[in-house]
Amino acid sequence: MMMTCPKCSRVNPQEAVYCYFDGFVLSGASAGTGPLAINTLRFPSPFVFMSGRSCLNFDDLAIACHEESKPASDMLKQGFLESFLASIGRVDLSMAAKEAAKFPDSSRGLDELLGKFPSSVLSEARLNLSSQEINLGVLSRTAKREIKITIENGGMRLLFGSITSDSTWLAIGETGNASVKNFQTTGELTVPLRIVPEKLRASDKPLVAKLKIDSSGGSSVVLIRAEVPVAPFQLMPLSGALNGRQIALKAKANTKEAAILFENGSVAKWYESNGWSYPVQGPSASGMGAIQQFFEALGLTPPPKTFINQTVVNLVGAPRQELAFELTVGTEEKRSVYAHGFADQSWITSKNPKLTGNSAILGFVIPQVPDRPGELLVSKIAVTSNGNQKFLVQVNVQVSGKYVAPRSEPAPELVFTKPPEVVVNAPPPTEIPEADDTIKVDPKLRKNTKGLKSSISLVHYVPFAGLVSLMVILLIADAVGVGVGGKTEGGPGVAKNESSQSSFGYSFDIDKKAELKLDFSHKSKSRNFRFGLFAADKKDPKDESKNLRLTYDQEGDSNNTRIRIDDSDYLFAHAMKDVRVIEDKEDSKRRVWRVSCDYLFKGERIKVSQFVQIVPGSQSGNLDTCIIRYTVENKGKNSHKIGLRMMLDTFIGGEDGVPFVVPGTDGFVTKFTEFTQKDMPDFIEAMQFQNLDNPGVIAHLGLKGFQLPDCEPEPLYKLYLGENPGSKEFGYDAEASDLATKTGKDGSRFTDSVAFLYWNERDTNPGEVREFVFSYGLGEISKPDGSSGGKLSVTTGGNTNAGKTFTLTALVKDATKGQAVSIALPEGVNLASGETKEKTIVEVDRATQMSQVSWKVSATKSGVYSLKVASGQFSSQTKVQIREASSSLFR
């Protein structure tokens, strides 16, 4: 409930003890007494300035704010005063402080607040002027003059207001022609005033300008007086005239001589020299017309009623052709006629009018018809004649479609002298609009702000051009293979200088010579859509008529792939009832081949695609690796149990039964071995010769770590390495007994090795797409350096992207069981969890005297790293390129 002061009837907050306005006590024992001296009432807690000045009451606070106005303004802006006033219960003053803080001018804001304080210790602002009248004496229209007035604040509050000059010849300020100036001061202020000579008007009476000062401390007027005598006309026969009427009288007496002075502008200049406006508007007429023009302008004689010969002019002309036409303004009275006209289009120019007594001929020229063939150009000509009589003439120019060469070219067929076709009987012109004194926005002002195109000037195109340039630079950078944050030494994900193509997201130089090639059985044999791998430039060391192969059959005829769908087995791409090959597409340029099959099973459709391509090896960068990808899509409406098995009949440089290097195992795999998903190695390698100095062909079977941008391959479920019985076309499930039965020449060792790769046979949901990937191609081992003596070499495989784990395998020749092999890693490369730097040889292959030790390692950043292994006195090192793997949303 608000409390109303019984004395002043003003409303106070409920908690008010006394009236905030007059100090009348509102509650408590002293209610009804007072008034209290609020200004000296002690605050519950003092308000302390940052300077340490302590204010105990409103008087103290007001004086402190006056004397330390800058800190006070800052505290007002920062809300300290607002919160202080709220804390002492003066919500009204706190709100006032909040409003005052919003003032753009902090001094004004502070003054507003001080005005609301219940204190009269600060006297109100009072306007005092140094003088009320200034007499400048005689002024010249050619000399500049400056004066000053002083405004003094007779009070303590802020004096603010404005100074207004009512005369154009008296400007406020040192520069410009301002007639109004705002001011504010707590002390004294000097205001410069400036006489604007060109605005002085000569007169036989003194000029008086009023300088009005309105302020918070009152208003006042300063009178500025000056005299500007009239300069008499100097030339005969009008000499001595002191005003227009005297000029007219003298001209009437000597018309012929006077006409010359009007015609040549002497009279107009005399008017101007005295600061007067010449009454004749527009160009001066000639002869008697000039005198009549002056008389009419002074209102000494009425103008004759004039007419114009036409209000519409129709012209036809070719682009760049010159056209000319005339308008005649006349009168039926025996009076001189003068007239002039201006076109609103820049392509029409006007000539000096010919005055011939009671008519005036206005000539207009179109020097070059604008080069806008086929358009109808329209212009308006405003003609003004005696007594400001106006005519509006519309000019229509039909630009013909035929191009006319410029006049300077000697083209005889051009007709520049052809007179314009003038059509007199044309539609009437638009009437001249009446003057309108309301606010109108000049359309010209809007001209440059209409539409995006016109509103963006050239300078605004600069940032856009910069952006486009940057984009072009990026495109060029990509074209030449420059990247940020990655090496460009070739391999998957990195392009070199030439054009590149992708599949699996890999990129490479397709024109590069491939070391490994694909061949397909469907070309010449049984059309079973199998593939083989061979090195075209190398011959089988045991059969010079054949290429060096990585698969037993160059066209892959001894390989096969089987699909199992709900316990039914199918040979991949083997056409039969309910199985059809729907795509067989080879792109020899990109060394890629795709085969897709539809398996129609119980009315359901399963699509299986085989996609093979020769790509660069992840470390070598050479086109020496084949990626094999199977995509299984359940296009039916029900879930189906689907698995896939690929049998690869390996063949390494004429050898069909070489031992396999399998990282993670103790020695070499020379007989049937099964690997499950849990112990699946990153890769398997086999060397043609078990000689580290000359390993011959190295086959590299990649099993894990494929990071393809467009697919998430399922891990390999099972791997068999075994002996190929040869006489049997294996079914989906290769029997271990079959794979292990045949005994080679070297006892139990392989004589014809095969690899069976299985992907999990599991329920595949409708719409689900499964991806199976492995690679097969040429591998490489580090060349034993001088210190290794041909006894130690290194090979790598797996996912060599940053942050991923790959395998490094040391191959040791002529080692003994228990021999230590250690690895040295550079900064940024770390051993995987559970690995130790030093390992011992567990097994030595008796036949080849070869051993192997493997480590799982990873690198955190991209780059090329040297990894070194050592055993006894021997050491060997290899370089591994680590690349970025990115799949951020924003990449």
Binding site: N182, L445, S455, G485, S886, L889, F890
Partner: protein, 305 residues
Amino acid sequence: MSFNLFLYYCAIFGAYAALTAAFISRLATQGVTNELLQSVIDGALVGALISFAVGILDTVWSTGKSDIKRLVIRSLGAGFVGLFGGILGGVTGSFIVRITGVQFFVLIGWTISGLLIGLSLGLFDLVFALATKSPAPHDNKIKNGLMGGALGGFLGGAFFLFFKLSLGAIFGRENLLSASGLGFVALGAAVGFFIGLAQVVLKEAWVRVEAGKRIGKELILSKPETFFGRAETCDIGLFGDNSIEKIHAKLLMQKNRYLIADAGSVSGTFLNDQKVTKPTELKAGDLIRLGSYILKFNEKPGKKK
């Protein structure tokens, strides 16, 4: 600055900011293999820089003054909000793509990022107003920013995907500088443009300088009080005319009504040639004259009263 120019610069500022984010992110995430962390860094940079850049432009445009302190605070505040928006969008989008395996769903992430970047300007104004206990901004600013940002994020994301796939096919590899650069530029330009477009298209009332030194400048009315005068702190600075006071007039927004009031000027404020002596309601097309300046008040047709 006209609306057209404002839109143009919204797109340009957004594009440059996004491009800068792309480059910084590339450098900052070198060696970072954690996809989530990459998305966080990318999203944070994109969100913060676009919001910051558009915040600068919006501040300069909407207040028309060179109050550096306010400019910096507002832009940094917007950038801060945008930073979280970018992170949220980036992480969400990455997560959805990872779960579904459908690349198209990156658009969800982009849309969320754009939406929160669009929100950043209005949200900062709201937070600032609450913190300083000053009048809250019109809620249209937040709504328009949300709509514009979401649309810009979606279309920018679509452009991004287009560039990524098409340039990837042309160059035959992933992670291209140009695809990333063009994609980011498209995203930034789209987000910036649509945030600006939403402000412009969905504006309810605005004034345009029809005559005077700053001819063509337009200002959307989104504050309870809009000040005109020659003080630099005014929302529309009317410079070069000494007959105009530092605070000459103010335009008040009260319950969907707009009123013009003179702020005690000497030369006066005129509405359609009539001197304004008390707060007077404006209607579309009204001309306000202050000294040599003429401002035209415009209002969206059919606006609720």
